[in-house]
């Protein structure tokens, strides 16, 4: 249910950015969410569509790109990626892993219309 807090912050960011850019309409909101964030996309979408309805960009659709986990072993240098959350190196058994991807939670871009479009 932290999706509601995330959606709350997201709607505020969308509103600020769209106003700054002079948009009159936002059609789509693209976010990237890493698997480590434990976000349920359907819940985030429900929360977003509810909360975006409270500002002037109501109707904007949320598009979520899920990013799998990608890690690199600092001992042997091998990399692996996938939705499997295992934090030991598959090749050498090392435990000192660098997270390359999977902890993202950011607003990527908006699609919208400005004045004169």
């Amino acid at each position: 249910m932290h999706e509601w807090t995330i959606a709350d912050n997201l709607v505020r960011l969308v509103g600020e950015a769209a106003r700054k850019e002079g948009l009159t309409e936002v059609s789509e909101v693209y976010v990237k969410v890493g698997v480590l964030r434990q976000v349920i996309p359907e819940t985030l979408k429900t929360a977003f569509s509810h909360l975006i309805g409270e500002i002037e960009f109501a109707g904007a659709e949320l598009k979520i790109e899920k990013i799998p986990l990608a890690v690199k072993c600092r001992d042997c240098g091998s990399k692996k990626a996938g939705d499997d959350l295992a934090f030991t190196c598959g090749r050498c058994g090392g435990i000192d892993l660098e997270i390359l991807a999977g902890d993202e939670l950011y607003l990527d871009y908006l699609e919208g219309k400005g004045n004169g479009e």
Partner: protein
């Protein structure tokens, strides 16, 4: 038209969390964000810390619950200064809730602030309250598969406390399965086995806190 943004969605929450962290450091308080399921023994673990360390270190508590001040009353009756935050519908404490609560606490008089988060293994993990360390609490009664099911907490926590070990002989809890699941998620994490009911392991819990307080910066 396409407007590129590339901004962290939780940047405002993280900014407030960082403010709280600076405040804790400035006042010389080690803050612990205690995260565990409802009924895992979070309040009992705080009581155990107080009984073990109350004579040498000043401990304060922030209690996060959806509703009621039951836990706060329970801790105050022991002599612990405790402040209640009711989150209403909210399933986790937020950095802002902590920031608003801090002026009501005499931080300078404390060595340790334990923040008991709302009972939940998922949502609280996503929010940096400004704590010195997150402590993950699970109890034997919940089953040995929790690290596998709730990996993020066991990644983010600095230590895991396994409570209610007196129940192991009466349950299907498989220690080996628990440890292998936990190690797959966080190979280096420390585990304190404890029974708040019998007092087993409480000394080790106290020692961990004592040691952690002596180096409150960073993690």
């Amino acid at each position: 038209m396409k407007i590129a943004i590339k901004e962290d969605i939780l940047k405002e929450e993280d900014r407030i969390g960082a403010e709280n962290r600076r405040e804790f450091l400035a006042r010389g308080v080690a803050a612990f964000n205690l995260i565990g399921s409802p009924g895992s023994g979070k309040t009992s673990l705080i009581e155990a810390a107080y009984r073990e360390l109350g004579g040498e270190l000043a401990i304060g508590v922030i209690e996060g619950d959806l509703a009621s001040d039951k836990d706060t009353v329970r801790l105050r009756n022991l002599g612990l200064p405790a402040l209640q935050i009711n989150t209403g519908r909210g399933c986790h404490l937020s950095p802002l809730m902590i920031k608003k609560a801090l002026p009501e606490i005499d931080l300078a008089a404390l060595d340790i602030l334990i923040i008991e988060n709302v009972g939940n293994l998922v949502c609280p993990v996503s929010f940096d309250l400004g704590e010195t360390a997150k402590i993950g609490l699970i109890s034997v009664a919940e089953g040995d598969d929790k690290p596998t099911k709730y990996p993020l907490l066991f990644r983010e926590a600095e230590v895991v406390v396994l409570n209610k070990i007196d129940l192991v002989p009466h349950s299907d809890f498989d220690r080996e399965a628990f440890y292998s699941g936990l190690r797959a998620i966080n190979p280096a994490i420390g585990v304190i086995e404890i029974s708040c009911r019998t007092g087993e392991g409480v000394e080790e819990w106290g020692s961990w806190l004592r040691e952690r307080v002596s180096s409150p910066a960073g993690r």
